[in-house]
Symmetry: C2
Subunit: 321 residues, 2 copies
Amino acid sequence: MAAPVSLASWGSFHVGGREGTIADQPARKVRFTPGGVPAKVDPNGTYLIGALYAQYMIPTAPRGRYPLLIWHGGGLSGVCWETTPDDREGWQHYFLHQGWPVYVSDAVERGRSGWSLIQEITGGTALTLPIDNPFERFRIGAGPGFYRRGEVLRGNQFPADDTSYRNFMRQIVPRFTTPDELSLDACDALLQRVGPAMVIAHTQCGFFAWNAAQRRPDALCALLLVEPASIGDPAQIAKLRDIPVLMIYGDYIREDARWPDIRARGVAFAETLRAAGGMVDIVDLPEHGITGNSHMIMMDRNSDQVAALVQKWLAARGLWS
Amino acid sequence: MAAPVSLASWGSFHVGGREGTIADQPARKVRFTPGGVPAKVDPNGTYLIGALYAQYMIPTAPRGRYPLLIWHGGGLSGVCWETTPDDREGWQHYFLHQGWPVYVSDAVERGRSGWSLIQEITGGTALTLPIDNPFERFRIGAGPGFYRRGEVLRGNQFPADDTSYRNFMRQIVPRFTTPDELSLDACDALLQRVGPAMVIAHTQCGFFAWNAAQRRPDALCALLLVEPASIGDPAQIAKLRDIPVLMIYGDYIREDARWPDIRARGVAFAETLRAAGGMVDIVDLPEHGITGNSHMIMMDRNSDQVAALVQKWLAARGLWS
């Protein structure tokens, strides 16, 4: 099932972040390992907070004109683009096989970006998701009770067998509610380092992608928004005029409790952008004969089919050869 | 500087973990993105906690007889084995170039393993490190004041220029003090999935490696402990008898405030193992003409030289061809 790949280079880095300070807290003695020698820990001091982790893989025979940055959604990390919960190759694999230099990052305060002092410096709360929540909220099942009953939406493509679903839930990481400025600063630092680039952004990171593009339009060659949960700044719509945008929505939107509103706001923003001269394509997958997609499109059993649609769109815009 | 590599496959997975339950907490309404549609969040329920993330890269022409698992130390994630803070290839690269199937993991509650409910379920505190702490505690400088003065130990090999040191500090992630049982269970699950395997373990994960080997001796073909911070269970020493062990210590140990004790306990455990018929090699790098190593040996400027020593040791034991 796995196809080999030849990498010219691969690696990782952190970008962005800033210093944060804690003062007037008492020192503690902490035993870091059972039976280990205790070390004094003084929490006061200066910390680096809010950096962003990115891992890159550069194919030996690149065909993409620009790097492809892939940004995950809330409650997750970059892992969601790697191997799928049912152990197939994910979008990281797909786009690398197409010859894109691929950068998968973890949002600020998620995964390998770390969450040092996020709570202390930004306030806010860490949230995480119980096992039934994504099943019932991400259009795998249709609402309360579906997880307990093991019932998925008719024709649903998410690998919802118990083993795969638990593999997915093991990926869930806590998220804080208040670090948006830190996150945007880090996205900006990433684009400054790697751009010009394309960004694929899922759900929560749709907000970061729209706003990062408005901060640094010259660094964005294309925006690919997979069920973006939010929009950019309407007052700065003109900044997006030269960036081709693709918005993708899955199945079961109309019947959902929240997604009709979320989609409607996204589409309204897209229409504002079109009116300002921008180029936005909106793809509702069922209208293209691709059905059964949950909110976790990159994990659904037809993930490669949707990736191929994205790939075709990129190639049609001269970004791949 | 980067050398290309050909991968037969790569990917990631989570293993281990268990269910944890929260009850009798009030529900909250949370706006997940600025301007987004509020969602009700009920913290009560069942969660998956304590899983471990591993990313694997399998070369097309493997030369290692078994997979090589690489476990980072406290306050860090698997990132510490990737690109070094001064942007050189790290040990992940080194061993992959040698033809080892390499698995880099994040310890439970670190990085991409996530820390959902670790505090609520296990108690304990999250700790993180201020910017001067590793500089003065990891034998880069020699103690208080060295970071402020920008002064490193004579001949020190850590890339301690301001840019590189900050790159290192951006890797720091919070750690909890109490998840050892969860961590050991997850190490066990990893060995069960991937083993038999070799484990390279740094500092805190020395504890996990020794104890994982005692839990599942048949799954460990070799233990390579880089400045292990702790030891295994002396009462179960016989279980380690058939596993070749290499222990590596860097420079400046004798003059340090804590490392003479830590090293002495490690060496005493090794001697107990030898007395029980085990095979342990202890390498103090300066005695082999390799000087200037901090506690972060895999990041020091001579990291490849130490990796080559590890590689030679593995090859000499017939584990590589």
